[in-house]
């Protein structure tokens, strides 16, 4: 019978998340012999681990679900119950506790080895293991003893034990705190940290741990690592040599390993070495290893509906159905409807793949996926595609026709053409800044617009696209910066020699007094320029993306006159100074411009130099304040709320106004956040150039709006990724509260909670009374977009303490342009 460990099945499905379940259910429905392998003792572990009662959402709403299992938005419990029941009803062959450790063999005869030793044979394998991976195992003598565990489900289960937690991340700390929470349990809890501080953990957790340590509830051992596990004992490697402690149980929380190594070991190739790369797949989800198919989150589709549809599709493909149209066909049909020429979806996709340079290496499957996150436009001759200074982080590609770039803002007749197959708008994508020039259609044009996330994914996963975008963007950025009638040919030498380098926040790019001669262009992020005055660094200026620096040393052959370092994680283009000098020699106009820039920069240096005796006063204060602001992440902000605490009376009217302007929830916390010299940066969105929150949003619900604001639209599924990714803690997860009674009824009769955010208890009571279940979704500042008058927090400040500004508005010391 199918599913026995000795026989061979048509298909083995590894992983029982939404993709694997759906595949198994469809295989069962088609009568295909199959086995569903799940490493835990229950189905769909990721959703199983969601917190109790979590509302699971079903986006994208317009995508039709094509699966043998039902799925609709609802509570975690209801969804799991439905799937468990339907898997049983469909008579799906499930094997639990079946952790696959190796896949060997060829199409038609694969052998899957399980951790417990048994093997499963299958003609084809569908990998649907998601991206969570397995916990990192301890690698030391005795690590296989039974009292070593990698998870802690219920800390109250253990009594009177000596327990050692290994790992200094949040998981480890939370486990240790849980075990020591109730002194009545009598546990002796020790936590080991290889380093001296707990840098990887959340501040709140570290604080609790330090408190528990000072109360003697938890033993914290720093600069200590485990050396050997023995029954009832643990040997430690400490700074002062080896030491043994009593230990009845070890809980190891040292992170998890992404599943890539396992997948690669099975013979599946990835699209690139990048960490974010996905397996290379054919239109039918087949990997580079024939017979192994990859679907679901591992294939790059994190949403439940996508996963379930792919489970269905992959079984259809395996059963020989080559005519199957993907479930996203109607979406693409709708997207391509406005285009001229009456072509079918397949014809359009073929055309895009053929003409557009950056799409040439994509499979049809990847192209389809890309198009789902993208838009196809048709522009008549002369129509404006975007305007100079408009915000926008999408990238365009010309599928048919060509466009004109208005390079001179003063004279729209000066244009540079961009032809069919090329791209534009990539500067906004890379730097996060506003559009540098207005672009019009030169003829009737079909253009594709890739959203920021889609474009970044494309660049990360297809090396060819990355190369093309890189070269074009370096060339264009230089052209735009230097202007003055240069052509791409003039820049060829520089472009060829240019290297893109990533810089960590705080990393020094140029050091004052050094002798090197390279010139740099900031591609993304921003830099700060400092000069050493009397032994301590003084902030000179802030350089946003799109500036160049390092030319001074090249032009007059001097040593570096100031230090330039990255304010935030940045990317620079480095090119040799000689090439730059040669270019200047050829182009006198450019030379003039560069010399003018340099004179301004030198003026600032001289100004600071002349002041060095009077330092410690105003200029020092200025420099310190600027430094504080950069430390607070202002360097990557596009718009930030700043409070002057010499004016703030603490009325919290800003918070109240925020709540009353947006669904009754405040999106800022005035009091929280850091203060320097009475300048306070409250917990409120900075609308970063490269928003951390956007990094990992399954439904792509976080976007940049027309005024540069970063906002979350209604497709949010409430997963909380953005909240975790935001380094400034400005995103909250909450349910939209019910409507409050009006202001007048509160003023006159005291009805309702009054202005501002209603108390949690009022919201809860009211929501229960209304009987409607409101899911928790991510909530953040949208800069009051669409509200006339602008940000409510600023309008509602009675004393003028609150303002919103961009970083260039305050990170500067003089009116001229500066640099190193």
């Amino acid at each position: 019978m199918a599913g026995t460990e000795a026989g061979i099945v048509d298909v083995a499905i590894v992983g029982s998340g939404p993709a694997g379940l759906s595949a198994a259910a469809h295989a069962a429905a088609k009568g295909m012999s199959h086995i569903l392998l799940e490493k835990t003792d229950h189905l769909s572990d990721t959703i199983f681990k969601y917190q109790k009662g979590k509302h699971v959402m079903a986006t994208p709403a317009h995508l039709v679900l094509r699966a043998d299992l039902d799925f609709d938005a609802g509570k975690r419990e209801a969804i799991l119950e439905t799937w468990d029941r339907q898997i049983a009803e469909h008579k799906v062959e499930v094997m639990l506790d079946a952790d696959v450790t190796a896949i060997e063999g060829e199409a038609g005869n694969f052998t899957l080895t399980l951790k417990r030793g048994a093997t499963v044979k299958a003609r084809a394998v569908v990998l649907a293991i998601g991206t969570q991976g397995n916990p990192n195992l301890l690698r030391l003598p005795g690590a296989d003893l039974p009292h070593v565990q990698y998870q802690l489900d219920d800390p109250t289960e253990y009594i009177d034990e000596h327990i050692t937690v290994i790992g200094s991340g949040d998981a480890g700390i939370e486990n240790a705190l849980g075990l020591a929470a109730d002194p009545a349990q009598g546990n002796v809890v020790t936590i080991l940290n290889r380093g001296a501080d707990f840098a990887r953990a959340k501040g709140a957790n570290v604080k609790l741990l330090m408190e528990a340590e000072s109360e003697g509830r938890i033993f914290v051992r720093r600069e200590t690592s485990p050396a050997e596990v023995k029954p009832g004992e643990l040997v430690l490697e400490t700074r002062d040599g080896q030491e043994s402690i009593r230990c009845d149980r070890i809980i190891a929380r040292t992170g998890s390993k992404p599943p890539r190594a396992f997948v690669e070991a099975a013979g599946v190739g990835f699209t690139s070495e990048e960490r974010e790369a996905f397996p290379a797949l054919s239109p039918s989800f087949e990997s580079t290893k024939p017979g192994i198919y990859v679907i679901g989150a591992l294939a790059g589709y994190p949403l439940i509906k996508h996963c379930m549809n792919q489970g269905y599709d992959v079984i259809e493909f395996l059963a020989g159905n080559t005519q199957l149209k993907p479930a996203d066909e109607p979406i693409l049909e709708e997207k391509f409807a406005p285009l001229p020429g009456n072509r079918s979806v397949d014809e359009w996709l073929a055309l895009f793949g053929r003409t557009v340079v950056i799409l040439q290496e994509l499979s049809v499957l990847q192209l389809r996926e890309l198009m789902i996150d993208s838009r196809a436009h048709f522009y008549r001759k002369g129509e404006v595609i975007f305007e100079r200074n408009a915000p926008g982080s999408s990238m365009f590609a010309i599928a048919q026709g060509s466009v004109l770039v208005e390079v001179n803002p003063a004279d729209p007749s000066v244009t540079v053409p961009i032809g069919e197959g090329s791209i534009f708008g990539e500067v906004g994508l890379i730097s996060g800044r506003r559009r540098g020039a207005t672009i019009r259609a030169a003829e009737d044009t079909v253009a594709l617009e890739f959203s920021r996330t889609a474009a970044l994914k494309l660049i990360a996963t297809t090396p060819g696209a990355a190369r093309a975008v890189n070269r074009i963007s370096i060339e264009r950025q230089l052209l735009q910066m230097f202007g003055s009638g240069l052509t791409p040919e003039d820049l060829a030498e520089i472009t060829d020699a240019a290297v893109v380098e990533d810089k960590r926040a705080g990393e020094v790019v140029i050091k004052e007094g050094d002798d090197d001669k390279d010139v740099f262009v900031i591609r993304r992020g921003s830099m700060i320029v400092e000069k050493d005055i009397g032994g301590h660094p003084v902030f000179l200026s802030y350089l946003p993306a799109g500036s160049y620096f390092g030319e001074m040393a090249v032009i007059d052959g001097s040593k570096r006159t100031a230090t330039v370092k990255a304010a935030i994680k940045s990317q620079v283009v480095r090119f040799p100074g000689e090439a730059f000098v040669k270019l200047l020699d050829r182009k006198p106009k450019l030379r003039e411009k560069a010399l003018a820039d340099m004179a301004g920069r030198r003026e600032v240096n001289a100004f600071i130099e002349s002041r060095k005796d009077s330092f410690g006063d105003a200029a020092d204060y200025y420099s310190q304040t600027a430094k504080f602001l950069v430390d607070q992440g202002i360097g990557e902000a596009t718009d930030v709320l700043l409070i002057d605490e010499t004016l703030c009376v603490g009325c919290d009217n800003c918070e109240k106004a925020c709540a009353d302007s947006h669904d009754g929830l405040s999106r800022l916390d005035r009091e929280a956040g850091k203060t320097y010299a009475h300048l306070h940066v409250p917990t409120s969105c900075r609308h970063c150039e490269h928003p951390h929150c956007m990094a990992d949003c399954p439904p792509n619900a976080i976007k940049r709006g027309p005024d540069g604001e970063v906002f979350i639209d209604e497709t949010c599924i409430g997963c909380g990724n953005c909240q975790r990714n935001c380094p400034y803690g400005v995103i909250r997860m909450d349910a939209r509260p019910p409507k409050k009674p009006g202001l007048l009824s509160w003023l006159m009769f005291g009805i309702g909670p009054g202005p501002g955010e209603a108390s949690y208890s009022w919201r809860k009571k009211k929501a229960e009374a209304s009987g409607r279940e409101a899911p928790k979704v991510a909530i953040k500042c949208d800069m009051c977009s669409g509200i006339e008058g602008g940000p409510a927090c600023v309008r509602a400040c009675p004393t003028g303490a609150a303002i919103r500004v961009g970083p260039e508005r305050f990170l500067a010391v003089s009116q001229s342009e500066r640099g190193a």
């Binding site: 109360e215 003697g216 100004f607 300048l679 202005p755 400040c797 500067a812 003089s814």
Partner: protein
């Protein structure tokens, strides 16, 4: 790169905050001054008989202006709470509120023609002056206290201060376990006391004479020969005193910033009542 700073290269605050008092280079101060001066000149030159008072044409003019101003000024309370759309700024409203409110001293007093007595008319004037005087206090504290408030709290929010206190309390409780009876009683007494329950006076002065934490700290400090446990508890008591001090200073400053509103707002309501009585009676007995 857009770069801006002061023209003369002088280092200045790197942000363009502008308080309500200097809003738009004292626009409303100028308006209010102009209004007062015009009213004063008018008072000196208006040819009214038999003598200046509220019943002359000039008196009616000033009275009408005064009523309109008072009604508009009292609408600030609504403006502040009604978050409607539009290009309004509460700061501009506050600025105008302050300066136009002050100009009422001139306008309202000239309206009386300096005829004051024990009647409903003078009551309205007196209430107006009370509102203005309390308002002046408000302006003074708004201008001086926020900086102290900011210095006192540092980077801590109210919640964090309370949490910090809670953390000290938990440590105190376990640290006091090995102490002898009388000493641990002192600690328990300190922990049991609601350290913030005190009268208005304590709130406004920041003096809490009944503070048992301070009492316990003093008792431990007097003990010259502290063992290791006592030393630990003493250290924690000192920290608790410091934390209580910070919270109490914060509460005191907040109270000083808020207290005047308890006069300003009710007096405004009373003023509106008295004003209504004043206007009706004047027209009734015309």
């Amino acid at each position: 790169m857009a770069s801006l700073a002061s023209e003369d290269g002088r280092a200045q605050r790197p942000s363009d905050h502008e308080g309500f008092l200097v809003h738009k280079r004292f626009r409303w101060l100028k308006v209010a001054l102009a209004l007062s001066i015009v009213a004063g000149i008018g008072y000196a030159f208006a040819d009214v008989s038999p003598r200046p008072n509220g019943g002359t044409w000039y008196g009616y003019a000033l009275g009408t202006l005064g009523v309109l101003l008072i009604v508009w000024l009292s609408l600030l309370g609504i403006r502040k709470r009604a978050m409607t759309e539009g290009r309004w700024s509460l700061k501009a409203w506050t600025s105008a509120h302050v300066y136009l409110g002050l100009s009422l001293v001139v306008i309202g007093t000239l309206h009386t023609g300096f005829q004051l007595g024990w009647n409903v008319h003078t009551l309205a004037w007196a209430l107006m002056i009370l509102v203005i005087v309390s308002g002046i206090y408000g302006v003074v504290v708004y201008a001086t206290l926020p900086e102290k408030l900011s210095t006192n709290r540092g980077d801590m929010s109210k919640k964090e201060m309370i949490e910090a206190l809670g953390a000290i309390d938990r440590q105190l409780e376990s640290a006091a376990q090995p102490l002898p009876r009388e000493e641990s009683d002192l600690v328990i007494a300190a922990l049991e006391q609601d350290a913030f329950r005190a009268g208005v006076l304590a709130r406004l002065t920041g003096r809490y004479p009944g503070c048992r934490t301070e009492r316990a700290r003093a008792a431990f400090a007097a003990d010259r020969d502290r063992d290791e446990h006592e030393e630990r508890v003493f250290g924690l008591l000192q920290r608790r005193c410091a934390q209580l001090g910070q919270i109490r200073r914060q509460m005191r400053l907040r109270a000083l910033l808020d207290i005047w509103l308890y006069v300003h707002v009710p007096a405004t309501v009373a003023l509106l009542g008295a004003l209504t009585a004043h206007v009706i009676s004047v027209f009734y007995y015309w």
